[in-house]
Assembly symmetry: C2
């Protein structure tokens, strides 16, 4: 049922946005009126759907569960304030009270780094380990939260950091024999297990005039296509400009794939994908704590993404990870 065409659209049409809510269903996060405006987002992580216990420590799982929500706040340009943690616990001897405390320790370390609070939640039984994490943030004073729908023709498509490390890490986890020839194997696996949300960069980009922003959770090409469709514009993604994380090329070579393609379509990098007005990219670059790379441009044309390499159209087998409904 979750692959049903348009389920989220049908839900959005069946629900009304009322006074007090600026932005409802359909973006990375909801925005509520207030001084400051409140930005709130939720992600469910379900055992054997989003993670496997044999492939993660409880501490890393806690980190990642909070990190993916902070990444959604970052993509709105919001500052994290608090999180709620809904926890469903199975009757599994491998999950003890100490495991649960390790999970919270992973969240608490990341919360402390962002000076935010794990402020509540719920604990109950469930058939598998289930994490429903909610992150609540404040819009930066005087800066409207950045939607996915504001990209305009002429804008420059940029991405923070470098891409492909999590996808390469996943390939190494799925086939450990690949790691022998990859010097950066451990840092690639770490990128998958412990993504670092671009919280400060998100606020700086929002304050610096970003027209649209999303986090790169399902792959640059797919997430950029969501910006394009929501904004009603065409985005041209230039593969040769995509910043490829160290070690990704080695892994891509072992599986016979192009490094830039793996970087542009692998999910879970949690870098920010942003459109900026022409002529503002250099100024933004100097204001961030992370590299910012122009990887494409917003052009007139049918809403969607156009992938090119050296000016020639490239047809990707897939744009990214369609593991959820959106």
């Amino acid at each position: 049922v979750i692959h049903e065409f348009n389920l989220i659209d049908r839900i959005a049409r069946a629900t009304a946005r009322r006074a007090g809510v600026t932005l409802g269903i359909g973006d990375d996060a909801a925005v509520l009126d207030g001084d400051p405006p409140v930005v709130v987002t939720q992600d469910l992580l379900v055992q054997d759907v989003h993670f496997r216990l044999r492939a993660t420590s409880f501490r890393d799982l806690g980190h990642k569960a909070l990190a993916v929500n902070l990444s959604d706040l970052a993509a709105m340009g919001a500052r994290p304030v608090a999180a709620l943690v809904g926890l469903g616990l199975p009757d599994d001897p491998a999950i003890t009270a100490d495991s649960v405390l390790e999970l919270y320790a992973g969240m608490e370390d990341l919360a402390a780094a962002h000076e935010m609070t794990i402020a509540g939640g719920d604990v109950t039984r469930a058939p598998v380990l289930t994490l429903a994490v909610v992150a609540i943030g404040h819009a930066v004073a005087g800066v409207a939260p950045v939607r996915r729908s504001g990209a305009a023709v002429g804008d420059v498509l940029c991405v923070t950091g470098a891409l492909g490390a999590a996808a390469a890490g996943l390939l190494l986890v799925e086939d450990p024999s690949l790691a022998a020839s990859v010097k950066q194997a451990e840092s690639l696996r770490e990128a998958l297990r412990r993504p670092m949300p671009r919280v400060a960069a998100g606020q700086a980009l929002a304050a610096g005039g970003a027209t649209a922003m999303l986090d790169c959770s399902d792959g640059l090409a797919l997430d950029a296509s969501r910006i394009a469709v929501a904004s009603g514009v065409c985005i041209e993604l230039q593969l040769e400009r995509v910043p490829v994380a160290p070690g990704v090329a080695s892994v891509a070579a072992t599986v016979g794939r192009a490094a830039d393609e793996l970087a542009a379509t692998g999910g879970e990098d949690y870098e920010l994908i942003v459109t900026l007005p022409p002529g503002t990219v250099d100024a933004r670059r100097t204001s961030l704590d992370v590299p910012l790379t122009a990887v494409g441009r917003v052009i007139a044309g049918p809403p969607g993404i156009r992938v090119v390499r050296g000016g020639a159209a490239v047809r990707l087998p897939r744009l990214g990870w369609e593991h959820t409904t959106r």
Copy 2:
């Protein structure tokens, strides 16, 4: 593991409350600084733990999932503004896109009644139907959210509405043959399926000086004992004063139980349990859209609850439903 002694306490000790958060883990909801202050709560509902698909319609399930969260906001005295809905969907032919839309319709009807917005969430796969609903509200201007820890010796223990209907309804669902002699059978089952959160009453009680408040989700005696322990006081509950909902006595009689005891220990009524300063009860009663009944008093003594009937101590086999960890 969720029955592990003190799991929530251990989690609370392992997490720090930081700037921007007024109230963290341990109450019905968290409170964040802001103008107005933001009150936020989350409840997980898991198929075959909290509900069975053969005993509820999707529309009623949607209603209840939002209602239990609005009840937590009501118990803080907050006005609902928005909800997020995290939905885990199993691969079950009994759950179609139309079922999901029915579920949302049940939430949307209740949201419309409270002029709030279903503002976002997440949809993903899960082994069973899983609902992680978050409700976000605003404190009423100038009124601090009501905690569970403020009850003082001399206060009067009160409850809104009447109790026992949901517990009687559950007995009827579990053994339909009991219903033959019960005139109010359908309204009792309805009380279980479609609880009505006391949202307006909660705001009026908060503005009227309530010293402590909780919703009656697990049973009056158990929830009142939580107020007592959090406040460091003894609460005397007078069974003969407990308002018993119509039809509860008939059901109690068929199973050989005392009606006042069923009403005082049955969960899921979602009425408000509140302590009020002496001499203020009559004034509060006239300001509410629902009956308010004095059912006990806050006295000096060891923190906890003391149950009496006609002045004599009563030992209840259990205080309520310990179906969660709290």
